[in-house]
Symmetry: C2
Subunit: 133 residues, 2 copies
């Protein structure tokens, strides 16, 4: 588990997949999670107005994928993504750099997604294994 947590934490970005309004799976690059609880809960920031947030409000099933380019390793989590409305978590995960994207941590377009994993599969050396979360 530690090597997977390390793989997650070493990345600068991750890949969120969701199902769009026409039923197609789609992937977006996200900044790496600002906070996580083990390998079960991941907190991500994004734009409230984005298509993926609108799609996830309709169908919360999501995938979260971390890819280690140097080692050709990947970890794919399946789970659900929830749009958080609570200001305290928005304050907690806010970083100074976010002013590139938002006016401040009260900006209505500043959105925190909580991804909760239900299963995970780890890829390395051309094989894959299920991970117990």
């Amino acid at each position: 588990m530690n090597n997977i947590a390390s793989l997650v934490d070493r990345q600068d970005v991750c890949f969120l997949s969701f199902i769009d309004e026409n039923g197609f799976p789609s992937t977006r690059t996200m900044l790496n999670p600002r906070k996580r609880n083990g390998l079960k809960e991941f907190y991500l920031t994004t734009n409230t107005k984005s298509k993926k947030v609108q799609a996830l409000l309709t169908n919360p099933k999501a995938g979260l994928y971390f890819y280690d380019r140097a080692l050709y390793r990947g970890i794919a989590f399946a789970g659900t993504a929830e749009v958080l409305r609570d200001q305290s978590i928005k304050d907690e995960v806010w970083r100074d750099m976010d002013i590139i994207f938002y006016e401040n941590n009260y900006d209505p377009d500043y959105c925190v997604l909580k991804f909760t994993a239900v299963s995970a599969r780890f890829y390395q050396n051309y094989t894959s294994t299920d991970i117990v979360l």
Copy 2:
């Protein structure tokens, strides 16, 4: 269009998303397409036995995502993925390096997927635009 084709061709890997047997979108790293026709058709190699191939045989809706790490640009295609049975296309896209994964180009686990795009969205400078294919 040329800069998007160039973004695609410069990558060593791409990210294929599909919908798994429980309805969750999931993402896998793939070797970059061996062949493409414009930005409409992409030919990818993978393992016949893999979960993603089995999932795509059930639901062919798929996403194909290319991410330029250096420039923070991405292109997300929505479309369908088809498992090709024709030996001539398998021969055409076979590369010597594939013996890492398969016995030869007749190996039943050597699989060619054809992804056909129906729409695309391009991400750069924190904005996104639809691309006419």
